[in-house]
Every structure is written in C-alpha cells, then in structure tokens.
Symmetry: C2
Subunit: 266 residues, 2 copies
Amino acid sequence: MDRDSAPTAPREGAQSVHRTLALLQCFADSPQDLTGSDLARRTGLALSTAHRLLKVLTNAGILEQDPATARYRLGPSLAELGRLAYHRRGLHRAEPELAELAAHTGATADLATRVGGHAVILAGGSLDRDGARGLRRPLHSTALGKVLLAWGDNADLTALPLEQLTRRTITDPQHLREELERVRTAGFALNEGESTTGVRTIAVPVLDHTDQARFAVALRSSPEAMASARLAWFVEQAAACATALEVLLLPPGQRRTGPRPPIALP
Amino acid sequence: MDRDSAPTAPREGAQSVHRTLALLQCFADSPQDLTGSDLARRTGLALSTAHRLLKVLTNAGILEQDPATARYRLGPSLAELGRLAYHRRGLHRAEPELAELAAHTGATADLATRVGGHAVILAGGSLDRDGARGLRRPLHSTALGKVLLAWGDNADLTALPLEQLTRRTITDPQHLREELERVRTAGFALNEGESTTGVRTIAVPVLDHTDQARFAVALRSSPEAMASARLAWFVEQAAACATALEVLLLPPGQRRTGPRPPIALP
DNA sequence: TGGAGTATTCCATACTGTGGGATATCTGGG
DNA sequence: CCCAGATATCCCACAGTATGGAATACTCCA
C-alpha cells in the first residue's frame, strides 16, 4: 500500500508529514499544475486525506490554487523559503562561477548535492529544459551521482533501486562498486548514455575537510563536443571550478586541507 | 497552549503538518542556524516532538544539519523546490524589471504577494539586509500590505493582529479601514515610519481581471530622497513596472482588462 | 572533574489523522 | 436542455498514529 520513497526514510511517527512531503515532491516531478485527485492518485492517498493536506499547504502559501482551474501549483511561501535557502547556502555566489564555466567550455554546467538516493541539482543547468524533467536524478546513473557516491557514504549501496533507464545504465551493485572505485582513482566520473542517450557528462567532487563530496560539479554536452582527446581539459576546467566552490560554499573550518585528487585518464 | 499563526488557519486534522510548517517558518524569521531545542522553544513543542519532525525534514533534505555543530538550517531540497517555484511563477522574469525600476529611481524595489496575514516578498529588495529581518511583513503596517488589502479581501480585517511596531503604526481597525479607502481612491499606498522609522515607502497593485491585487510593487527610500514634490513621479514609475508585471506574471486569461486605477495625490 | 545544555531513543496513552461516503460544482456532450 | 463523469469540499466514527515525559549519551566549558 505504501510506496517507500527513498533509501533513507525512517517512516516512524510522522506519517502525515511524510505524505505531505510526497505531495510536494509530485510538483518537482511534473511541470504542470496538478488537480487534487491527480495528486491523490500519484501518492496513493485517499482523496479526502490528500485534500486535507493540500488545504493546509495552500493556507500556508506553500502551494497555491489557480483561481480559474482550481489546480495546485508551487506557491509563494515556497519561493520565499527557497530564495532564503538559496542565499543562505551561498548558492547565489556559485551561479556566476558555473555560468563562467559553461561559457568557457561551451558545455552545460551543473551543481548538485545528495539528498537520499538522488542527486539534486541546485544551480546551473537550464531550468527551462531541466525544470520539466525535474531537478533530481538517480545516483547510480549519472556522473554527478557517481561522484557523490565515490567520495561519500556508499555503504548502503544495495539499498539503492538501481533502476534501468537506458541500455547502458549500471544495474548490478557489484558492477557499480567497481565503477565507483574507478571513479575514485581517476579523480572524476564519466558518463555516456547511462542516464540519457547521446549525452556525455563528466563530474568532479567539491570536497570538505574529511574528503567527503559535499557537492558535485558536472559538465555535459554531445559526445563529439566532449571528444576523448579533449576530455582531460574539460575535467580540469570543472576541477578548477570545484576548487573555487569549496571556498564559496563551505565555511572556513570545513574546507579541504589536503590536495585535490589527481586526475588520471583511464 | 497553541499559538495561532495566521487568520486563515483551519487547524483541523493536520496538527503535525501545521507544527512542521511552524518549524520551517522559524528559519524565515532567524538568519542563523538553529539548535533543536531552540526550535522546540520557539514553536512551543515538546523536545521529542520537535526532534522527530526535524528528523523527517532533514531526511527529506528540506533542512540540513551542520556536520560540525548539529544545528539546523534550510536544506538543499528547499533550494530545489524554491528554484522551481520561482521559475514556474515567472518570478525570474520579474527580477530584471524590478532591478531596472530600482536603478532608475534610486530606491529599493520590492515585489510581494499576500500569504495569510502577511505580505511575502518574492523578488527584488536586498536579501543580505532583508534576509536577516525575514521576508514577510505584517499587512497593516506596510505599504505593500495596505495595497494587498485595499484591492483584495479585507472582510476579515478584524482578524488581523494589528500589532504596534512603531509609534505611527495603525492599530485601530476602523482607522485602518479608512486608510484603505484612502489608498483605493489615491491609487497607491504611502507609508512613513509605520513599520520602520525613517523609511518612506509607496506601493501600487498588480491587478488581475477581477481587479484583485495579486501582487504589489513597492519603492522605499529615505523621506528626503522620496520628497513629496517628487512623489507622483515615483508612483508613476512603480505603476509602469506593475503594468509590465501584469503581463509577465499573470496568464493571458487573468489579466486586467479595465484601466489602471488613476493616481490622485491626497 | 562536574555541570549545563544538547541530541537522541523508548514507550504507553490519548488524541489526532484517517478514509469511506455524501454533497456541491463544473464541464463537455448528446 | 439535461445528463454523465470528474472534480472539489465537507462530515464523522473509528483506529492507529503522533505525542511528550523520562532516561541515556554526548559535547563543550569552567
């Protein structure tokens, strides 16, 4: 009856809050406004339950109902809180760095962090295109995710769903573990067509003082534009950006002290 | 025991969600990271209750705990959802308009909308300064709020707290009702020192097809810079911006058809 | 070394959230 | 014009979820 949302969830003593967050998540997944019944269907909730929760969110301004269609969409309070979150986390300082990186390399630059079993894109990218697809991607099938796993907590790796998205997606835990080892020794992750066919992506970590990846920076483009011969150059540009972001995004006491992981082409 | 948060709240059958939102709201009010016990104190919740709710929010990435201090702050999922909300509501298109208005007039330009008993600032302003004070202001004591009330639903006016913020704050419902009438006939709201002493603010509505204020645009500066002789000019600049925003923020079917309310200096 | 302020976990109880159902509205078609 | 289908909204008795007191573990500071 209940679908588990992430490999984190201790669903104890907080059912309604969990359900409320599930409702919110629907809006990250769908670019259109949603009807109440639609939301109930997507979350598997009873209509009246969904409706009650939606009303609370609407009264708080987290969601809003279109006066004409009565459909729900993300509301002003969320824009407000999001703006605060964005600022307080220093992401507005990251944006120009990413823009510069994108302009310099001609590729698309993304900044992401890990939330549960997903890489959540925080800055960069193209919202008009990516906003429709949603801003979170599975960890196992993206360069960003591999970096976050390789320099992070991948103990519970078997808890990840490892869903097959394309023909090339890694779905075997052991295979993934080897890939992560390769990523760690190479100093960067390379993806081609494992998440979206016809797209090549590289990613590098933004490391803290314990050598954990707090964020990841990715560059993606067509395989031709990102030809193997120029791969090292792309990775170095991304790494330079990542180093800058360590200063901009981490508080002084939590910055990497050791050297960046050296880049070694496979 | 329970403090009522807004003059909207049907607190029925959603206690935990309400409490969760109250916890979130604490972060909008305080610029610093907050400890769990601090949050429990501010919301009046039992420590264990607050902790449980905070854990759910943290697992979802709505909040995050500083790895060093274990204090809570706004998290990546909120930045993600906020970014989506910001974009989907077209607020990124409003930002340049407001920047232009601010540059042109030399004042600070804000865009806000109504959520419950508050005017929530969505774009413009200076986040570094305003982010510390919070992004929401009471309706009765700000030019933005007066506009949202004057061209909006002010039937439940007596339900507003009407808290006294400065010596000049309007605290009498009847007095406020007269002021709103004045605002409606003037076509704009003027505030001086009712919210913050030494600041003069004007605001105009962004109207929809039913002549409701969906948003409000404000300009604020020192009383000298915004001298009475030049007041009409400031109001006209703001009104021009508001007209532009009607096109940018409202869907085609919901745009004002009639003329803008004419501006009449008192 | 002790004490104050925390985070975190446990559990029996009671109150909150639940969902089935009934009603009101709306829309597009026949 | 009226009906069928889909939707928003409200109500209420029941069950199970959320609650908060208390106990433990941890960290910082004097």
